[in-house]
Subunit: 489 residues, 4 copies
């Protein structure tokens, strides 16, 4: 939940937006938990803080959840053995707040009248507080601060005759952007919100079906891509096969365009488009829209690389790794000395001076959030002797917070919400600064032009056009009792 | 909950009954958490598996719970600092089952419509399953397998106008034996079940009030004993002082007589009687009831010591530490080799041969549960050269399971439920074996005689006279969905 | 090493002297490591800080060392399996200083020209610094601050033709009080220093031989006591049996009399005397020497219990557990709040008021070191209502530091070194205070009288008669480079 | 030490050679330890298994060593505070064997007659066994299996008058390839072996001097590059400044050419050449030497990227990220299920099918070691639909083990030692396979041609021309007692 006042000031923020979650589910596979671990590993870029898997062995549900990387916690036979069964769902999580207690790690599990249900979701409910308040009034007891638990209580109190009816019942009460996977004793369930803001795909390997946030999670286990789960679709997989339901009134879809720009893995395909290709195309559009006479195109690694390749190809200016990234940072230097804090960006990036000194440099980055990293990167590039620095950004200026499952600073912290491009260029210290235009961006994702009345994608973080009502935001500050307990384990 | 099929076969069981919990609460003390840690340390004999404290600082509740001893987990300033505030409650726990996940560690906390409430209890609800089933049917979601959570849901769904009414509402629905402490933002609450099976005392230090399972928890913090909380009494402590409520229909009280025999600390006073004194008196009664011509009275340490002193004094036979206990066992040798398993009792006890060799030995122990330890102890005493071994037990034969908060094997595992005294003597390998008589025991606690129609104490583990209805037991095996999730953290 | 300036001020000192170590070795047993673990568990009272075992499987040496209790670290099959072989030695350690890094945990192992050797010792070398300095000058590199490593270097540089010669060579250079066990690829070796200050016994079980600090380590594994290793004896056990060597010039023996008073376990037999019996006899001597008209004899548990029984028997005054000890303290409350610090003694002891109120109390304790605990105990007894408090101590006043392997405060911190008995009584707050006399003590251990010219035991901590030269002490402060490296792991 | 029989079969080997270490030292900096942590972080690619720092505060040496990444262990104020002082040295380590006990983690410290000395080195001594044997015979006791300890003993027994003389003394006895940093109470010392096989540079920041394996460690702390330490140079830095000594007879230098190909970070400059530039130039040479008609140049990320850029630029064929790397692998899946084991390469790499399907692909990788990864990569590329796969390798075939500080499989495991290029192409499954030629490689590093009589670089892993004598190898298998002790901590 992007509660502005809780955004932590990470000492070494990478100043990027962060997707909050990735989900995975697999039905009827002899090695369900191991495959879930692999799928989550492939989705690790969607959340590095914690991971969890719940399996069902025909009799019992089994759960293992841990803070940290999938590869550090689900890597041994011993762990996989504790998760028997042919059905499993899993989750990776990026947390926006400091409450890294295990009880907030998904999948959540609850024991209902009709049997157990495990659930994991990627996204954010925009009316979660209101629902929660009503549920607490009714006598429901919450154990976590996660939206997912709101959803669970709605299922629990539903009078629906079976799980699908109860889930449908709950879905109809929530607003927001979400892709979720759930598992009962007999069914694997997948849902994408009516506008399809967050991704979810269906895959198959032999007789097994898989639900996952991105296609790269299918690739890693050798599964075939079947199709994207459609916006507003409720998929139920059981022994009779895959069943599709449409519990919602149809609305125009609004896939998050930032998934293409930054969140998704470059080797994933979303709605028929290859992410890496889209990024290259954005780079090419940028080269056409905002050309500059220069010696070298240098990406801010790693996220700027595909657009830089596209820019270089289009412009004919050589592409060089003028900035080298250190991949061993990990959860590094969490509580650093002042000395380390000041060095900041160098922990991750170093100038490769030979390609910068006395050069006119085009720096390609995917976005500017607070701008703090950009200032340091440009500073480093200048210190390495660059003659000119021209920055090209493969997204429009980010000026609005996201309330649909992405960790964004409050709008006043977003550089583009309080400064125009010229001011930003000055602060960042570049000779020129240009962002991709809306239409350039929409062209790169295959549209002719952005429909200003009804944009084909959710681009609220750029435009402020929020397609889903912000019910909780409109209701004002959230009730304080939601965070009464400060817990240590 | 004494679910017979879940009693673990501890490799090195000490073959004793175990109290399941101790509770502590303190109101308006500048150092509430540190005092709670001390109080729980004094109550550590009532539960060594886990401990927890929840404090309230006027704005937030703070919780720290940990597996292990109080002294290993609440011993540092760093921990105590995370528990600010002038009000706190705490809990120590002995778990009968393997599910040692933190979510089962008390105090439990829930966020209600009217604000947060933390609760900890010692005892067992005898209609917990039935209540739970009804609550789940209603849409309540349980996060633990503890009785306490049932109680919390009952409070949550109560329509009572305030906390006291809601607690009262919940109390009227539960059956069982329990002493509980609870804390809201303004009140410290203590309750003893209508029959007062488990102990609870009220103490005072300066302006602060304390609730604790035993008086030894008052002594450690220098607090004065005010009085026992009475059976069926609901005490509410707030800024106006101590308020007493009587939410139940009065019934005859039934304090657990085994608290005197074994559970309580010898330096505690319960209902006006000093525990050590009662144990000595039982020893003296035993000496009168079952005298034997012998050379030495030897306690099985440590629990047999007071009765052995009493026996020796009454009989004039010298008291000697013929068996030495190693106090460093701790959580020792949990998964030992077969070699270690066979040695069993020697990890804790060693014969002090000088006082056994060629001697006629009277061994004093507090109880015989499965009898496994007794066999090994007698074996060891004989191996040390004892000429005769006469065993005297300071409780009647334990032949029935307890359902009121004590971890007991199922009745078929209790030696006395399937064997008479002579058979037991033979199996254990003693020349003579005698248990204290009911009347001898009742005399030691100050009664003239046991009232066979309406016993003055709960002695169900000896007599099978269960004073509180065993609702869940009567309803048959518990619904399986209660333990669907096997969790690893 | 008792370096006065490094004695830590443990927040909750128990104000006792502490033995520094226990040793164990076993030759040719199929389950050598498991038996070593058991033996060390029985010797845990000699050192609770760390434990280690080295085994030899005919090809490789295997080592496991850990901080903490034997029962917490050598309790699983997994650990025991890492220690294969039919020969093993082990060690438990009480550390006087804060350097609890693993590299100081014994047994130490070194790879010599002639093969590996593991060694563990109990005691202290009084010329270790001098030897160490000479060894460092020669180019030897020390990895620990333990005396044992000095011994290892002496073996390494010896020109002896075989292990026994080399060990003998080393033994002749060291001064001090020590019992050691060592293990080569073919031999188990045991040595007691010429005066036999520290204990060491030989046991047998089937074809296997055992060396251990005390007989209780034989009892736990069912081994038979063969004999004490004699002062100055070097025992070598190999496939041909047990060989006895006498590498030293014979001198009068000086067994540590404090082993009887406090260090050894009451069920151990040392040099033919049962420790518990000696303690009772001291109590009886005290009753004769320092009688007092009183109502009750109360031990300071646990160490005061045997003498209190002896005193009570001799005097006819009833023995009562007027002070109850909490055995769950463990490594408790290491860094407590001020609140906890002030309570001090109550973490371990509580008054059992019924037996103290309005009573004339004889308190029996084993010793007074700094006196801090005595003050608190008496305070607690008085607060419980005692009318009179008479303290009787089963050792003479401790007025001198030990340099032979016992952790003692510097002499100026010893209450008896700066105050006479009357002053001590006043400070401690007792009506009367009496210590056992030298002759009373010597009678209790079987002598007619203490030989003032050549005392039959080492009683230097009382008398200041140091039987072994204090070479390092005489040479003045130790060279500073010994503790250059402060290490964190 | 590359002992062939100890090379672990890492389940998910990345099939690369691995540098074993990186070193760092800093003299007279107020924040010496924090800067060392940063420098080691920048050198993390040279060793990820363990890291250590020793500081000196003018009075004491302080050490912290830990298994794992610098960023996970030296990231907090708490740790940095335990390392006070203005002088420090540090080390990162890649271990070839399973003995990851802390005692093998550098820097090592020893307390000499003349005071303490800490030392860390990168490389391997080729006569370490022989020296060690002689030292053990003399009575020296080794605590680790590291070469560095051999060096320490040589210093300890030297009769040199001061540290520099003693270090010189030791240096003259060792053979091998090494760069080392050492620190005494007054001096920071740096040495490069006579042939300068491993890198070492001198930097400066204000009044402080730095020694580091690579220039990227200077960049991270904002230090300036002064010069490479020269082969055979002994640098001593003290309060009078930087002193240069030449303890060795001058010989032709032999810098490790593989540092350019793979080990060093691309942003480092070595002996005046930028590593990234050299790699691009190798790619260009490859394009000239082994051109092929194709649609796309695809690097095996990350190490193949610079050469692929060079190849693409030279050939005019588009460069595309046809393989995407998952950087979250970490120490992932160490003990995976068979399922995970089979997937192998996919944990790290995924095909980006859009750029491979129906394409003629040129795959660029830096080397082929065992060939196992190449087989899987090509398999994955083919499965993604590639029409042709042409592999170009930016090193000559690796056919010989390295004995100079690089972890290499034994020669029989090296694919190129048992197969010619055609056979390799067949096994790997590529249409064509070509390696850079010796002369192409030498041109890329600035030579006109490789001098076949006296190669300008050490290229033994390709050519088998070992410039430094392999004394231990020639002497046959190493003495077994070196690994007698198997240790668990």
């Amino acid at each position: 939940m992007p509660k502005p006042d809780q955004i932590p000031d990470f000492p070494i923020s990478d100043d990027r937006l962060h997707d909050e979650c990735g989900v995975f589910g697999i039905y009827r596979h002899l090695d369900a938990a191991a495959h879930s671990a692999l799928g989550l590993h492939a989705l690790q870029h969607r959340g590095q803080e914690a991971a969890g898997i719940v399996s069902y062995d025909g009799e019992h549900f089994h759960s293992h959840r841990a803070l940290g990387l999938v590869g550090d916690n689900f890597n041994s036979k011993d762990v996989i053995r504790t998760l028997p069964g042919e059905m499993a769902i899993g989750h990776v999580r990026y947390s926006t707040t400091g409450d890294t207690v295990l009880r907030n790690v998904q999948p959540l599990f609850a024991d209902f009248k009709f049997g157990g249900l495990a659930i994991a979701h990627n996204g954010n409910l925009t009316n979660a507080y209101g629902l929660r308040k009503a549920l607490v009034d009714r006598g429901c007891i919450f154990q976590s601060t996660s939206d997912t638990e709101t959803f669970i209580h709605l299922i629990a109190i539903s009078r629906g005759a079976n799980v699908v009816e109860r889930v449908t019942d709950a879905l109809r009460q929530v607003e927001g952007a979400y892709s979720l996977v759930a598992m009962t004793r007999e069914k694997l369930i997948g849902v994408r919100d009516p506008m399809g803001v967050r991704p979810l795909v269906l895959g198959q390997i032999g007789e097994s079906y898989i639900l996952a946030s991105e296609t790269c999670a299918l690739d890693i286990i050798g599964a075939e891509f079947v199709r994207d789960v459609e916006p507003g679709e409720l998929i139920v997989i059981d022994k009779k096969g895959v069943h599709s339901f449409r519990p919602f009134v149809p609305v125009a879809t609004k896939f998050c365009i930032f998934e293409y720009i930054y969140f998704a893995r470059p080797d994933s395909n979303i709605e028929g488009k290859n992410v890496y290709q889209v990024r290259k195309d954005i780079g090419a559009e940028l080269a056409r829209e905002s050309p500059v006479d220069a010696d070298v195109v240098v990406p801010v690694p790693d996220s700027g690389v595909p657009s830089a390749i596209g820019y270089a190809e289009q412009s004919g200016i050589p592409f060089e790794l003028g900035i080298i990234r250190n991949h061993y940072v990990g959860r590094t230097f969490i509580e650093p000395t002042q000395q380390i804090r000041n060095l900041g960006v160098k922990l991750k990036h170093n100038a490769n001076a030979l390609y910068l000194k006395d050069k006119r440099v085009i720096l390609i980055d995917d976005s500017i959030v607070r701008g703090t990293t950009s200032v340091k990167i440009v500073d480093m590039v200048r210190a390495a002797g660059a003659k000119e620095v021209h920055m090209r950004i493969s997204s429009p200026p980010i000026s609005h917070s996201c309330f649909y499952g992405i960790d964004t600073p409050s709008s006043e912290e977003l550089m583009a919400s309080t400064h125009n491009v010229e001011e930003m260029a000055k602060i960042i210290g570049v000779d020129t600064l240009a962002f991709i235009s809306y239409d350039g961006l929409y062209r790169a994702v295959g549209e002719e032009v952005r429909n200003p009345v009804q944009p084909q994608y959710c681009d609220a973080c750029f435009s402020g056009d929020y397609p889903i009502r912000l019910t909780d935001q409109e209701a004002g500050p959230s009730p304080t009792q939601l965070s009464l307990l400060t817990e240590r384990e």
